[in-house]
């Protein structure tokens, strides 16, 4: 039966619900993860068998979340990538702060080292110049160590962050499994409480900041969660069963952190290929940091090799063949952090060339171009005495220490003259009677020819195969790092725009607009008042009948 009183009552009840919904929306205007709720009504069509069909008033149909599943998952995915970029950028920034610090510059410490070599060139016999050279060598090793320690710290910090992020990932997955359990009580998602679904979505959102996921919703609102996307088969949550993720140091490479899904069951490696903070940290560790460490090691290796090479080819102040200046322990993989100065005494610095040339010529001279002490000192000590005697302007004899002729050689201007462990060239034109005796250097203390070769390394581009000198290569590394930071900042900004866009789309569907709620408040208030008027009218009609006489 349709009567005015029950119609009015149904309206009062319905609009009171609408007003409550609006009130709830306004109250939750700033609640994270809250989706605007809409109270929808339908007409009560009453009896269909009656001849005249009068409506029975209004019915509450449901209170639903205003929700766009596609916009929500699009936002989630976009945000995963943004978090990845943000994390990468933040770490790259830290690295930049280390490398960009003028107090940690390699160039300045290289320059000082070579300047001390130059000072030794000017005064090879000076004890203080020798001490200065050793001190600067130690400073170079220290600087490499200092930079390496900063890298190590970043390595430790980022590995720890992976650990704590993985912990929160596991805890979030567990919370989500509990929500799934609650959702199983009903069979239709439309009957699920909005608040519970909001909580579910908020957890999915939080998980997606850590790692990119795809969620698959079932009819009752329960979600299965996959890492990356459904196709990977890497299931993080199955109904009410969360699957754990574990972070561990790789057995093959101590600088690598491996992520494993279901480590104690069907262990599956996660790799680095998924978005979110975890991917950002892994990306930084695996690419940026590892690359910078390798570059630093390359520079350290090239520096040690070339400096040691010069040291080994010379004679020290005592006339002994030079020993390596720098070294690292055998089993070290990252050499930069373990560089050591091996020489202890100032007299160990090989400033001298092992050979000296006696000459009698008025016009020409013989100049040593290169020498190699290790070849010359094959049988323990250097004992060279070779005479180059020009018997004519275009011919010379090579004689041994006894004066016996070993060979006769035709000479053309520009020809190099060489023997085991040395090479020399003739300056100007030799003539008959010119005699050059190449012999062991018996006065190494004042000889600066070898340390001159050391000082020349500063601008030698061949140490990096023509790519640049030590300072230039380091500047390139700075350039590269700066570019990485710029690039990651550009990617981050671009991703930020996309994510803002996605968030706007999601908010447009789910967010609360106070103006809209204010209008609805008025609308429902008026409807409520009008329905109250219907009850009033029904009362008057009833009174009219009672008062009829």
């Amino acid at each position: 039966m349709s009567d005015l009183l029950s119609i009015g009552t149904s309206g009062i009840i319905a609009y009171k619900r609408s007003l409550s919904t609006v009130g709830n929306n306004i109250a939750n205007v700033d609640t994270v993860g809250y989706s605007r709720q809409i109270h929808s009504t339908e007409q009560d069509i009453g009896s269909t068998s009656a001849l005249i069909n009068l409506g029975n008033g209004v019915l509450s149909e449901s209170v639903r979340r205003s929700y766009d599943a596609f916009a929500t998952s699009a936002y989630r995915n976009s945000n995963s990538l943004l978090e990845q970029q943000e994390t990468l950028y933040a770490y790259a920034n830290k690295l930049e702060n280390i490398m960009g610090d003028a107090n940690l510059s390699l160039t300045s410490v290289f320059d000082k080292f070579f300047a001390s070599a130059q000072a030794l060139v000017a005064s090879p016999a000076s004890g203080s110049a020798r001490q200065g050279f050793l001190t600067e060598a130690k400073n170079v090793a220290e600087r490499f160590k200092l930079i390496s320690q900063q890298f190590d710290q970043l390595d430790v910090d980022s590995a720890e962050e992976i650990g704590s992020r993985v912990d929160s990932l596991n805890s979030l997955t567990k919370q989500l499994s509990i929500i799934n359990y609650s959702l199983m009580a009903k069979s239709d998602v439309n009957n699920q409480p909005g608040g519970l679904l909001d909580q579910r979505d908020q957890l999915l959102q939080e998980i997606s900041t850590l790692i990119k996921i795809e969620s698959v919703e079932k009819a009752n609102g329960v979600v299965d969660v996959y890492i990356g996307n459904k196709g990977t088969g890497l299931q993080l949550l199955k109904d009410v069963t969360p699957v754990a993720v574990k972070a561990s140091i790789s057995k093959q490479n101590s600088e690598k952190v491996e992520l494993t899904l279901d480590p104690y069951g069907e262990a599956k490696p996660l790799g680095n290929g998924y978005g979110g903070k975890l991917a950002g940290i892994q990306d930084f560790r695996g690419n940026t940091l590892a690359n910078m460490r390798s570059r630093l090691d390359d520079i350290a290796n090239a520096f040690m090799d070339s400096v040691n090479g010069v040291q080994l080819s010379g004679l020290d102040a005592q006339g002994n063949s030079g020993k390596a200046l720098f070294g690292v322990a055998e089993d070290v993989t990252r050499v930069a952090g373990h560089m050591q100065v091996l020489l202890t005494g100032v007299d160990d610095i090989a400033t001298a060339s092992p050979l000296i040339i006696d000459q009698n010529s008025e016009t020409a001279s013989l100049k040593l171009d290169s020498w190699d002490t290790s070849t010359l000192a094959l049988n323990g000590s250097i004992d060279t005495n070779i005479t180059i005697a020009f018997t004519a302007g275009d011919e010379y004899e090579v004689r041994d220490s006894e004066g016996d002729v070993i060979e006769t050689v035709v000479y053309q201007p520009g020809d190099k003259i060489s023997g085991d462990g040395w090479a020399a060239s003739v300056v100007n034109t030799p003539s008959e009677g010119d005699v050059f005796v190449i012999k062991t250097n018996n006065a190494p203390k004042g000889d600066n020819r070898n340390i001159l070769a050391m000082a020349a390394l500063q601008t030698d581009r061949e140490v990096f195969n023509g790519l640049g000198s030590f300072g230039e290569i380091y500047a390139d590394v700075l350039n590269e790092l700066g570019s990485i930071v710029v690039q990651s900042s550009i990617s981050r900004d671009a991703q930020k725009v996309l994510t803002d866009e996605a968030q706007t789309t999601k908010d447009a569907a789910s967010g609360v607009s106070l103006d809209e709620e204010a209008a609805n408040l008025l609308r429902f208030q008026q409807a409520y008042q009008a329905n109250a008027q219907i009850i009033q009218t029904s009362n008057r009609l009833f009174e009219a009948i009672l008062n009829a006489r």
Binding site: T107, S108, S123, A125, S126, G446, L452, G482, G511, S513
Partner: protein, 313 residues
């Protein structure tokens, strides 16, 4: 599209944050006076700066090297000048000694002064520079090149080979004054004190010439004294030639010094152009940015006042 409250607030907060970050960066640039604060501000410029600053340090080193060459050459020049004065004095004394009216006692007196000159010549040859390196010894640094005990003459008065009383060797230190360019630091003792022939065409040394002159005076041997006058003359010419050689090396060093100094200026100008802040631009930027921030703030204040609730009474 529905515009929700969180959209308005989130967007405003993001924008105000961005503006504030930009403002802070400009402010930092102004307070440090630097245009580039970190590598990512301008990666290629930072690399260029690093290279330039390294060039400046290298050039500073070259300047130090050149100054040390100039010091050493200057000391050699001083020594050669002293030799020149001493030999001129010797020549005067010998001309007196060649005077036929002089008796043996007077020649002995001349010989005494010559001996002093000979001794001072030995100490000249053994001079060290500021860092204790023998100036005229080549690579040999563990002993003095000349000695009072080693006579340049044999018992019979004939000349010894120079090497027999010269402990140094015939090597000259070279010092780098530019990339791949080295200058010789002066000359070893065998080139300054010897390296010329006497009037008979035999190789001799300043010491042998002096010793022979002393012997001539002591032996009252006028013929020897007259002969020595010519040999001292030859020695003087030799020393003067060497002085000229030292002078031209000094000139080269001086030229190189000038080159480096002007390079240094240009490096420093370039560094300043890249690294130093253009205050006019920066301050204008700061004003624009603070204006933008203020506009953002006041527009936010206006928008946030707009609410339908204000009109529902």
């Amino acid at each position: 599209m529905r515009v929700t409250n969180s959209m308005i607030y989130d967007r405003v907060i993001t924008q105000l944050n961005n503006q504030q970050a930009r403002l802070a960066e400009t402010q930092e640039k102004i307070s440090t006076g630097k245009n580039i604060l970190k590598p990512s501000d301008s990666p290629d410029q930072v690399a260029a700066l690093d290279r330039l600053e390294s060039r400046v340090r290298q050039t500073e080193r070259y300047l130090t090297n050149i100054n040390s060459i100039k010091d050493k050459l200057g000391q050699q020049e001083l020594a050669a000048n002293t030799m020149n004065d001493d030999l001129s004095r010797v020549k005067e004394l010998l001309i007196q000694g060649a005077n036929g009216t002089l008796n043996a006692a007077a020649r002995d007196a001349l010989a005494i002064e010559l001996k002093e000159i000979y001794n001072s010549m030995i100490s000249l040859g053994n001079r060290k520079d500021v860092d204790g390196t023998y100036l005229f010894s080549g690579y040999v640094q563990d002993r003095a090149p000349f000695s009072f005990d080693l006579d340049p003459l044999n018992q019979d008065g004939s000349e010894k080979v120079f090497k027999e009383y010269y402990a140094g060797n015939n090597e000259v230190q070279v010092i780098t004054v530019d990339d791949g360019y080295q200058l010789e630091v002066g000359m070893p003792g065998n080139q300054l004190f010897a390296g010329f022939s006497n009037q008979d065409g035999n190789p001799t040394s300043v010491f042998a010439v002096l010793k022979l002159a002393i012997k001539g005076l002591e032996d009252n041997d006028v013929a020897q004294v007259s002969k020595s006058i010519d040999d001292v003359g030859i020695a003087l010419t030799h020393v003067n030639n060497r002085l000229a050689a030292i002078g031209s090396k000094l000139n080269t060093a001086e030229t190189q010094l000038g080159i480096h100094q002007s390079r240094m200026e240009s490096y420093e100008m370039t560094i300043s152009r890249i690294a130093d802040l253009d205050y006019t631009t920066a301050v204008t930027e700061l004003k624009n940015q603070s204006l933008a921030l203020q506009a953002g703030q006041s527009s936010f204040a206006q928008i946030s006042n707009l609410s339908l609730f204000n009109y529902i009474r």
